[in-house]
């Protein structure tokens, strides 16, 4: 390790991932808005031939927002905050810097290939695991490189104690590594069907119920280790740093961490309630989902209490507003999920629009709010310029909050209506409604969801504009802000 006399933190890799987070965030949310509109107005399916159909675009939407936007946000915030909490600069190790840049180059190739192949309809047809095996292999390399950079930085750190955010980033790395490998075990059909199949189309090594179990072990834990764990890592760093308040209870953060680690991995089978998996496994999924409220709320309440005595910042600093609302949506989402995982509730909720409603109050209100707030906090430090416009952030906040509320309330109503109509029987036990009856009733709610999408993506465009202006033409800063991010 070199002397730190003239050293500065090196944000070159964090900047690269910031650019891709903005790009993929906009593209992914735009596609999401289009497919929401397609559900309300089906003629929109025919805008771009086969490439514009709902079936082609829906997996593209989920993959771009998860692996494009969210994962870019995770890497950007990691390469920014890990240096700071470990008190070590990327510039101190040419090897780690090379690994970081190589990881980004491969990530960009993989993400681009993901978009192209999924537009072409090349898919494993497993939710959140659509990418075919060559891309899976590339992702393994990218993930290993992240691990090398992460543990490399940990290896040369000056701060011997690992801050709680680092524990969450490590958990994200290990959790995804294990689950991704197991769920993507597949064989190209070329080898299984007497050369009639294709090298670019594979089938799972597991079959039937086992495949479903492994798939949802991954599927739910993609929510855990991509949408939860690294986002908690972000809030544990960015909220205290932006507010100038140390985390309310460090002990509670440790307890919540280990609680989350023990419980989350067992909850995946709640996606398979009322299916062919063994009953005890369904019950286990339900029970662990309910227990999951405790560690989730432990972190969220810890964050809210961090603002104790400093609630005035909520009105003065829009970034605090984003983060506090993110924490609140995390609480809402982690209460709603366990409710849906109760078997009797799930009998109504399963396969209905309440499920995407739940997912989106989590991802729009918690994940995206937190990533945008994190990137806003990083911008003045990375680009040495103040944030371009406070008013624009305020406007963005209210537009996007309205969007999230419209999204989840319309989907709650739609989902419960749908579930009740599917189950309704007359006095002779015959189903009272056909499928098209539910579609007709749900149309207004689908239209409201599409409107919510338009509002949210508009807010994201404002965020992108604000970030680009911050990078290029905002007032230069003479010194790095300690806590509150400066904004014009």
């Amino acid at each position: 390790m070199q002397s730190n006399a003239a050293l500065e933190y090196d944000y070159s890799v964090a900047k690269l991932y910031t650019y891709t987070a903005i790009l993929f965030g906009f593209v992914g949310m735009l596609i999401g808005t289009l497919i929401a509109a397609q559900l309300a107005f089906p003629e929109l399916n025919y805008l771009f031939g086969e490439y514009g159909t709902f079936s082609r675009l829906r997996p593209l939407h989920t993959n771009v927002v998860i692996y494009g936007f969210t994962v870019s946000g995770v890497f950007a915030t990691f390469y920014y905050s890990a240096q700071r909490v470990l008190k070590v600069s990327m510039a101190e190790s040419k090897f780690i810097m090379f690994v970081g840049k190589l990881q980004f180059a491969l990530y960009l190739i993989a993400a681009t290939a993901m978009v192209v192949t999924e537009l072409m309809g090349i898919t494993q047809s497993k939710e959140y695991a659509q990418m075919e095996w060559p891309l899976d292999l590339l992702i393994v390399v990218i993930w290993v490189l992240w691990g090398v950079a992460m543990f490399g930085l940990i290896g040369i750190r000056r701060e011997k104690a690992l801050y709680i955010s680092m524990w969450y980033f490590i958990a994200c790395f290990l959790g995804v590594a294990m689950l991704y490998l197991f769920n993507n075990m597949a064989i190209p059909t070329y080898f299984t069907s007497g050369n009639l199949g294709s090298m670019m189309h594979s089938v799972s090594m597991y079959s039937g119920t086992n495949d479903a179990l492994v798939q949802w072990w991954w599927g739910h834990n993609a929510v855990a280790f991509v949408f939860t764990v690294p986002i908690v890592a972000m809030i544990y760093y960015f909220l205290p740093k932006e507010s100038g308040q140390a985390v309310y209870s460090y002990k509670l953060s440790l307890l919540s961490f280990w609680g989350l680690m023990f419980v989350y991995l067992w909850a995946g089978s709640h996606h398979l309630l009322w299916s062919t998996v063994p009953d005890w496994m369904q019950t286990m999924g339900s029970v662990f989902s309910v227990v999951l409220i405790l560690p989730s709320w432990g972190s969220a309440i810890n964050m809210l209490l961090t603002m104790k005595g400093e609630w005035n910042q909520l009105t003065e600093n829009p970034l605090i507003k984003f983060m506090v609302l993110a924490s609140t949506f995390y609480m809402l989402s982690t209460l709603e999920g366990p409710i849906q995982a109760i078997k009797s509730v799930n009998a109504i909720a399963h396969f209905t629009d309440w499920i995407p409603g739940h997912v989106h109050d989590g991802v729009l209100g918690w994940v995206a709010f937190m990533i945008m707030a994190g990137l806003f906090h990083m911008a003045p430090r990375m680009f040495k310029r103040e944030i371009y416009s406070k008013k624009l952030i305020e406007a963005q906040f209210w537009i996007q909050t309205t969007a999230v509320v419209l999204y989840f309330t319309s989907m709650w109503i739609a989902g419960i209506t749908q579930g009740m109509m599917w189950r309704a029987v007359d006095e002779y036990g015959n189903l009272m409604y056909s499928f098209i009856d539910t579609v007709t009733v749900l149309h207004p709610y689908y239209a409201i969801r599409a409107l919510a999408g338009v509002l949210y993506v508009t807010g994201f465009a404002m965020f992108a504009y604000n970030m680009i202006k911050t990078m290029t033409s905002s007032r230069e800063l003479s010194e790095e802000p300690q806590f509150r991010s400066p904004m014009a």
Partner: protein, 59 residues
């Protein structure tokens, strides 16, 4: 399994509070890592209490 996890969880809570009460650990000071994160600032380095902390507690 569930009982084991519950017992472990409660043991961990007791461990966290007892070790702090005895002055063996000071977890809360680790929260400062996020606030004082300049490259040249003094690292906190561990949850072991600083010698001055012990002195204060012994008073």
């Amino acid at each position: 399994m569930t009982i084991f996890l519950v017992v472990m969880l409660y043991w961990y809570i007791v461990y966290l509070y007892r070790s702090e009460k005895k002055g063996e650990k000071d977890y809360e000071k680790l929260g400062k890592i996020a606030l004082d994160d300049e490259l040249d600032s003094t690292p906190v380095n561990s949850s072991d209490p600083l010698p001055t902390d012990n002195k204060e507690q012994n008073k």
